[in-house]
């Protein structure tokens, strides 16, 4: 097992609203190791995006961090001042979002943007050298060199996402957080992008936290998978064991309710109910109202995350 790049300890994030406090992330602990793709999966409202934003301290007010620590490169990110955080973003921890259009300056050509990014974080590099690096990068991304001088609106969604990855690469980011990177892309473009990501990840030993609700994408790309529900981490395992034999009933239900195009006979299991109200969550285990295996204890006490088997964690009383 390689070294840890990011360690999250007992992180909680709150959103105060006028009807109560929404605990979007509830006491989550995770470690991301160098060179791995950690898939963070869950439905909307489970807290996965919030967690991603919290790492880079990009929470939109009124969201605020309510506890815990995030350790990166031996520093607790939550204790850094704004300037230090700014230097960290992009250069060490990079983030790509669902809609790349909003991340690229519409008035700046792509080439200029990349060159500027490179030179901001590596001021000793000359203009020519930066341009050469940019051209090489674009090429590696599978984008034709003549597109380099285009403006963002002239590129398609897929190409813009590639540029975003390219920027992260250009800066040799230690960690890339990808929040729903393919959700807005067409199916074939999505596949192309995933291929690119796989290739780049292998070649440059990238460390990626992949946040998505798309189970297929998780299965395609992840080495390990963390499943979140209602702000809590409910299961964490390597991708193969997780899919072959999910421990947590929510994971099981989720995997069974997703249509699988490669299967001959597809019987979707229906999960009753819907994700809980985070302002007044159910007592005990938040999944118990929907759980087919709920026991009395589940309605009362919240199960902690435990290492049920080596390398497999789950928060469920079934494994006590």
């Amino acid at each position: 097992m390689s070294e840890p790049v990011l360690q999250i300890h007992n992180l909680s994030v709150d959103y105060p609203t006028h009807v109560g406090v929404v605990r979007a992330v509830d006491d989550v602990s995770l470690t991301v190791y160098r060179g791995e793709v950690l898939g963070l999966v869950g439905e909307s409202g489970c807290g996965k995006s919030t967690l991603g934003m919290a790492i880079l301290r990009l929470l939109r007010p009124p969201g605020k961090i309510a506890g815990g620590e995030i350790v990166f490169d031996e520093h607790n990110l939550l204790g850094l001042d704004d300037e230090a955080m700014r230097r960290l973003r992009g250069a060490h921890i990079s983030m790509i979002f669902q809609d790349p259009m909003t991340c690229l300056n519409p008035l700046q050509r792509i080439s200029d943007h990349v060159v500027e990014t490179i030179r901001t974080h590596q001021p000793e590099v000359s203009e020519q050298e930066a341009r050469r690096q940019a051209t090489e990068l674009i090429d590696r991304l599978g984008i034709m060199a003549e597109r380099l001088d285009d403006y963002p609106h002239q590129l398609s969604g897929g190409m813009r996402q590639r540029i975003m990855i390219g920027l992260a690469l250009a800066l040799n980011a230690d960690l890339i957080i990808a929040d729903e990177p393919t959700t807005s892309l067409d199916v074939i473009v999505e596949a192309q992008f995933l291929d690119l990501l796989k290739d780049l990840q292998r070649r440059f030993n990238l460390t990626i936290v992949l946040i998505t609700h798309n189970i297929g994408v998780i299965a395609e790309l992840s080495d390990r998978v963390a499943v979140m529900y209602a702000g809590k981490l409910v299961e964490l395992a390597d991708v193969y064991p997780l899919f072959d034999d999910p421990l947590h009933p929510y994971t099981r239900g989720l995997l069974n309710s997703v249509p699988n195009i490669s299967l001959t006979e597809d019987h979707l299991q229906i999960m009753s109910g819907s994700p809980p109200d985070l302002i007044n969550p159910p007592p005990g285990c938040k999944f118990h109202p929907r759980c087919p295996r709920a026991m009395d204890r589940c309605r009362v006490e919240e199960p902690p995350v435990k290492e049920v088997q080596p390398g497999r964690w789950a928060a469920c009383w079934l494994y006590e």
Binding site: E43, S44, S156, G158, M159, D186, V187, I188, V189, E190, A191, Q192, L194, D195, H213, N214, I215, G216, V217, I218, A219, E220, S222, V239, Y240, F243, G253, L254, L255, S257, V258, P259, N260, I261, S262, D266, L268, Q269, I270, M271, S272, S274, P275
Partner: protein, 330 residues
């Protein structure tokens, strides 16, 4: 209406004029069009779930709106239960709408924010003088219970922003069913629902189809979902149908290279089934100037000379009358 076709579409085209700047218009003196739908033929049989699948720019959503005559076709004919829709006057078409209803992609955006849920669902009853007042309320409550929108008498008075996503989804389904239509055009009906709720909604739709004797036109970009619910499916690319057939035929034996690529591209929720086949290069070209000949030829790994010259016609696959493909190589 047993083995007939409920809907027949022939040569359907819809071209949207491109808005150009004033100066540009003066200088180029040319009108450009987005070829959203460019000559489409198909039938929807009574009682089936007919899928229309494709990526963005394929024209599937526009086709759905054309069938409902929410936009006027540039060319072509649409026949609904042997009635030529284009020949109807505005008022006649309006009354025809009792028999064909729509479920749109975004339930939040498709509900009037200033109308109570119950009123929104039951509005069609008022529009066509079927029921009003207490009777309307009674019928709406019953339909709400039917689609699982409970407790109905409480949710009736709520506004869309007070409902959860799943509830809104059910509300728009209930709204479409109030007049017991024959055809429902569902445009990505579950795309915006939570993953764990989608299966439930699909089940609901199938159940309602049985109960109310419905026919669905199911428009989607998600081939995995389509496989679960459709009986027959047509794959669209850049305004044209490239393949159509039953589920078995299209999924088990895809003939068109685009269909093959599409099926291969869908991420499978199983790490053992990770994709190894390469994807076609490039992206969907602009629908303003589609490629000549076969529209897919610039990206097709099997393209030949003829593909860039002549557009292929939709023809049956040898040995399988029902399975049609538009490809020179078949």
């Amino acid at each position: 209406m047993t083995e007939q076709n409920l809907v027949e579409v022939r040569g359907l085209k819809k071209w949207f004029p491109v808005q150009k700047g004033f100066i540009e218009r003066l200088v180029t003196r040319q009108r450009q069009f987005v070829h959203a739908v460019d000559g489409v033929d198909f039938e929807i049989r009574c009682g089936e779930v007919f899928g229309l699948a494709g990526e963005s720019g394929s024209g599937k959503t526009t086709t759905g709106r054309l069938i409902l005559r929410l936009v006027e076709p540039t060319e072509g004919s649409i026949t609904f239960d042997d009635v030529d829709l284009a020949a109807l006057s505005d008022e006649e078409m309006r009354r025809m709408r009792q028999r064909m209803q729509a479920i749109f992609q975004d339930p939040f955006a498709s509900m009037n924010p200033r109308m109570k849920c119950g009123d929104a669902i039951g509005h069609s009853l008022e529009i066509f003088d079927v029921a009003k007042g207490e009777e309307k309320r009674r019928q709406v409550l019953e339909m709400m219970k039917h689609v699982g929108l409970t407790p109905a008498y409480i949710l009736y008075d709520k506004y869309p922003h007070q409902l959860s996503g799943g509830q809104r989804q059910r509300a728009v389904i209930a709204r479409a069913l109030m007049l017991h239509p024959d055809l429902i055009v569902a445009d990505e009906p579950i795309a915006m629902a939570d993953v764990s709720v989608r299966a439930l909604l699909l089940e609901l739709m199938l159940q309602l189809k049985q109960e109310f004797n419905l026919t669905y036109l199911f428009i989607t970009h998600d081939l995995a979902t389509a496989k679960y619910i459709c009986d027959r499916i047509a794959i669209m690319y850049l305004g044209l149908i490239c393949e159509v057939g039953t589920l078995e035929q299209v999924y088990r034996n895809p003939q068109h290279p685009y269909t093959q690529a599409l099926l291969a591209a869908v991420p499978v929720p199983d790490p053992h089934a990770r994709r190894t086949a390469p994807m076609p290069k490039g992206e969907i070209p602009s629908p303003i100037t589609p490629p000549p000949g076969c529209r897919f030829h610039p990206r097709c790994p099997f393209a030949e000379q003829v593909c860039s010259q002549e557009p292929p016609l939709l023809r049956p696959v040898p040995g399988d009358e029902e399975h049609l493909v538009a490809c020179h190589l078949v």
